[in-house]
């Protein structure tokens, strides 16, 4: 599976300022029609996933429990690596992951052009 950032071109959009993102509590943000789940981890890194659980029954991710750089989803307790969006075994699949950068104190997410 090729990483999205290798060949995709991104346009960065501002989501808000860093202080609007509470530590370890995900926020659901719709940007350019894409529903994102955005997480700020204890070390002030930010991650944006498409707010769709890779579990076969789908569902939201934003309200899960964050531990380190992992997320436990709120519906089925699937453990997901926030850095890649991939579910840990024995679960399968991945949530789409988008790059996030911080410019000044603005949090920006990269969406495909």
């Amino acid at each position: 599976m090729k990483l999205q950032s290798e060949t995709t071109e991104y346009t960065y959009h501002t989501l808000g300022s860093l202080k609007e993102f509470p530590l370890r509590i995900g926020r659901k943000i719709v940007m350019e029609g894409i529903e994102l789940a955005v997480f700020r981890t204890t070390d002030d890194r930010l991650y944006a996933l498409e707010n769709r659980n890779p579990h076969p029954k789908g569902g939201t991710l934003a309200e899960g429990i964050v531990s380190g750089h992992d997320l436990y989803d709120p519906l089925y307790n699937v453990r997901i690596d926030l850095q890649t969006g991939k579910a840990y075994a024995p679960d399968e699949g991945a949530a789409r992951s988008y790059p996030v950068r911080i410019e000044g104190n603005q949090v920006q997410v990269g969406l495909p052009k």
Binding site: T14, K28, K57
Partner: protein
């Protein structure tokens, strides 16, 4: 023959030209064939290029689980053993909906019904059996089916929606499972059986009689010693006509009168058949390079209709094809368990009495159990168990190994052994190749190997690794015992003092003690000081620690929303589509017209998905968007009903002495008092209460964590009930005379529970493991302790606050937790 030789040369040339793999063709995509393939892939994963032809349009599914699909407890998807993706991943070409009509055993070619040809180097026939459709007039009418495959299941489900009466011809294993399923679907179901006793191929008359009585209690009707001569009706069947002239009305007739090996393709191809396709001890047929496995085979004169033999056959075949040495297949000892009716019956070997056999029999009508052992001279040759089959593994082993009867074995069988053979002894005696999980064909040896190879230590891990316990769950006890036996000292039983999660080896008591003695006051501090292996814990321990901190330091520990499950974090129940429920408080289930109007107005204004009355006697507005939650709470202006919380849910009440002619106590006002007193307080798990005004128990105190029953003299207090997955009746804690004493003891009980139970442990499990006597001693008999517990719970109760109003009045929380942010 020249032509044959030419074809052979062509085949060889083609083979050489393509991959170096031999071509293996499997006719039949069922459990026997695919199990053999699965075992073969483990032994020789790259030796064969495999093609599978299956008559049915589905991937391989667990046919035995069809009974569960019929009764509605499993879906078709649940019972698929190998999804289509599995075939792809393993490089297996699957042709579904394709029957093979004949085999050119010389030319090594199989032909499909469309005339397509496919060459093979090795061929396996696993075509299973067909249900015997009685050759009687009317057997071809609509509504007459077998119970063999998914299509049959679907036909039965559809018929049950339209028609009322069903008849099952055949009182054997399959017929009884079908009948139970149909009864569950609401059909009036009668089992028609030729013989005087049910399951006469597995049970002796006595066990059959006990079985019939139990199944009648479950709603199945029986007509024994009836021969069906004709099925009458128009295009669709309407009744069965019997040899004695009587009739039985039925709109659906299931033929479960036996199965016959499906040997058509072998017959068409000149392969030797008897009743089944004849195979030797290595599953080879009379044709070179052609093998057969499963129900279609006849081995040493025996055709098997149960699942265990096909796994054993598959193992021998897989080894043979994989080039691994194998002992010959020598036949299987058969034993059966009736699962879906919940009736345990087991038989092994020879189970019918006869003059030359010695019989040991023990019948217990009080407990509804029956067991029998048959000996030829001193050798155990067979046995029967009914009602309690916990000894089935042992009995199976005795029969298989033709154990000699001794005093020790006698005592064990009769249950009079003083030492008693422990489960560990049994596991030790169990041979490695004994199939423990019949639904998935997992042997003891396989489980032990997995435990060692992968360092497994829990049932869940074993399930994930080997599939044992994955289907009906009947083997859980045995698998747990194997785990215990294999791990020895390293074994930690579920629920015993193990680490509270994978992040730590510390048990619940140790964590709570550390919180107290080391004065730890945040979740982060606890994980850091107690050296958690994952610095930020996991979804199991974070909420648990948050609770412990609340419990130990009420009013001091600050709420940590990031360590709460979504429901408690947002004060609403999340639904599968990401909407939420709103359940306002309705104390003791009593409301007012004005409240109802407010609820109705909110439901309309926010266009909720559904308005539903809950089991806890209040109203639930289902399908509210997250961002609307604070607004709907504001409109309702009612406190949260905590329907989502590990806290007091509701206090159900009956009308009681306020109005009811039987009420001896005012259950409504006691209920209101209790619900107002204990609401909002964090507990280890949800807590449910009920108050009844008399022993008629209309508010169902018996299945509540705290259940109160009023009578003329006062109140009876019951605790530890549960109406959920594992129902438990509440136990009597004490009887009191005054309202105040009742409330005082309940308060002490609740606080004692808060301080001692594991997180997520309901009072039912906690009372079971602690013992009602110990609890009574602490909260009823020991007055000083009772008062101390009361003081502590009062202190905790003083710190709680209404959550919905807090959110409404805090814009930052609102935005961060509930905000609907749409940009761009």
């Amino acid at each position: 023959m020249k032509e044959d030789q030419a074809l052979r040369n062509d085949t060889i040339a083609r083979r050489a030209a393509s991959s170096a793999k031999e071509r293996l063709v499997l006719i039949g995509n069922g459990m026997a064939g695919m199990n053999a393939i699965e075992q073969l892939l483990k032994l020789a994963p790259s030796r064969y290029e495999i093609t599978v032809f299956g008559n049915e349009p589905h991937p391989n599914y667990n046919r035995i689980m069809l009974s569960y699909v019929l009764e509605g407890s499993k879906t078709m998807e649940d019972i698929i053993l190998h999804p289509l993706a599995w075939y792809e991943e393993n490089g297996i070409t699957l042709h579904t909906g394709t029957a093979i009509t004949h085999i050119d055993t010389n030319g090594h070619v199989v032909y499909t019904e469309d005339g397509m040809a496919h060459s093979y180097d090795k061929l396996i026939i696993a075509t299973g059996s067909n249900p015997i459709i009685l050759p009687i007039p009317g057997a071809d009418k609509e509504g007459v089916i077998g119970f063999r495959d998914i299509a049959d299941c679907q036909a039965m489900l559809q018929a049950s929606a339209v028609y009322r009466k069903a008849a099952v011809i055949g009182g054997g294993l399959l017929g009884l499972e079908a009948a139970k399923g149909l009864v569950q679907l609401g059909m009036e179901t009668t089992v028609v059986h030729l013989m005087p006793h049910l399951m006469e191929r597995q049970l002796d008359p006595q066990a059959s009689i006990m079985l019939k009585a139990e199944l009648e209690r479950q709603g199945i009707r029986f007509l024994l010693e009836k021969q069906t001569n004709e099925l009458v009706g128009d295009a669709r069947v309407q009744a069965l006509r019997f040899g004695d002239g009587t009739e039985l009305e039925a709109d659906l007739v299931i033929m479960a009168a036996g199965i016959r090996p499906n040997i058509k393709v072998a017959e068409n191809s000149g392969i030797h058949t008897g009743r089944g396709i004849v195979v030797d001890d290595y599953m080879q047929t009379s044709a070179p390079d052609v093998y057969a496995v499963g129900e279609c085979t006849e081995h040493r004169g025996v055709c098997y209709g149960l699942v265990a033999p096909l796994f054993e056959q598959g193992q021998v075949l897989a080894k043979r094809l994989g080039g691994v040495d194998t002992a010959p297949y020598e036949g299987s000892f058969t034993s059966t368990k009736l699962k879906i009716s919940g009736v345990d019956v087991f038989s092994a070997g020879i189970f019918q009495d006869s003059p030359e056999l010695t019989v040991l029999r023990k019948q217990d009508d009080w407990k509804g159990t029956y067991k029998k052992l048959l000996l030829r001279d001193k050798t155990i040759v067979g046995g029967v168990l009914f009602g309690d089959v916990s000894d089935s593994a042992v009995m199976n082993q005795w029969v298989r190994s033709q154990a000699v009867m001794t005093e020790a074995l006698y005592e064990e069988f009769m249950g009079t052994a003083s030492g008693g053979k422990s489960p560990m002894d049994r596991i030790a005696a169990m041979p490695d190749d004994e199939i423990v999980c019949g639904c998935n064909g997992v042997s003891k040896g396989h489980i032990v190997q997995a435990i060692h190879e992968h360092g497994l230590s829990t049932l869940d891990e074993i399930k994930a690794c080997t599939k044992a316990t994955n289907s009906c769950g009947g083997c859980k006890g045995t698998v747990e015992n194997i785990l215990q036996y294999t791990l020895g000292d390293q074994y930690q039983a579920a629920g015993a003092a193990a680490g509270i999660c994978d992040c730590t080896k510390l048990g619940r008591d140790e964590v709570v003690e550390a919180i107290r003695s080391k004065q730890l006051t945040t979740v982060k501090e606890v994980m850091h000081v107690l050296e958690w292996s994952h610095p930020e814990g996991c979804s199991k321990c974070r909420p648990a620690i948050n609770y412990f901190l609340h419990m130990v330091w009420p009013g001091i520990h600050e709420e940590e929303p990031d360590s709460r499950f979504v429901n408690e974090r947002l004060n609403a129940n999340i639904q599968k589509d990401g909407t939420y429920t709103v359940i306002p408080r309705m104390y003791a289930g009593v409301t007012t017209p004005e409240e109802l109007k407010r609820i109705a107005d909110a439901a309309v204004k926010y266009n909720v998905g559904m308005v539903k009355v809950t089991g806890g006697s209040r109203i639930d507005l289902v399908g509210v968007k997250k961002e609307d939650l604070p607004d709907i709470w504001a409109d309702l202006d009612m406190p949260s009903g905590y329907g989502y919380a590990k806290a007091l849910r509701t206090v159900k009440t009956c009308v009681g002495s306020l109005y009811c002619r039987f009420g001896t106590q005012d259950s409504v006002n006691m209920g209101v008092r209790l619900e107002k007193m204990f609401e909002r307080l964090d507990m280890p798990a949800k807590l449910k209460m009920a108050v009844n005004g008399c022993p008629r128990n209309c508010a169902e105190s018996c299945t509540k964590d705290v259940g109160i029953v009023g009578n003329d003299g006062g109140w009876e207090l019951y605790v530890g009930g549960n109406g959920g997955i594992k129902p438990r009746l509440a136990e009597l804690l004490c009887k009191v005379q005054s309202d105040d004493e009742l409330v005082e003891i309940i308060a002490a009980f609740v606080q004692y529970y808060r301080e001692h139970a594991s997180y997520l442990e309901r009072t039912s499990d906690w009372v079971e493991r602690t013992g009602i006597e110990a609890i009574r001693a602490a909260v009823v008999d020991d007055m000083a302790k009772r008062l101390e517990l009361n003081a502590r719970i009062q202190a905790a109760l003083a710190t709680v606050s209404e959550p919905w109003s807090k959110v409404i009045n805090n814009p930052q929380t609102r935005r961060e937790l509930y905000g609907n942010t749409t940009i761009g």
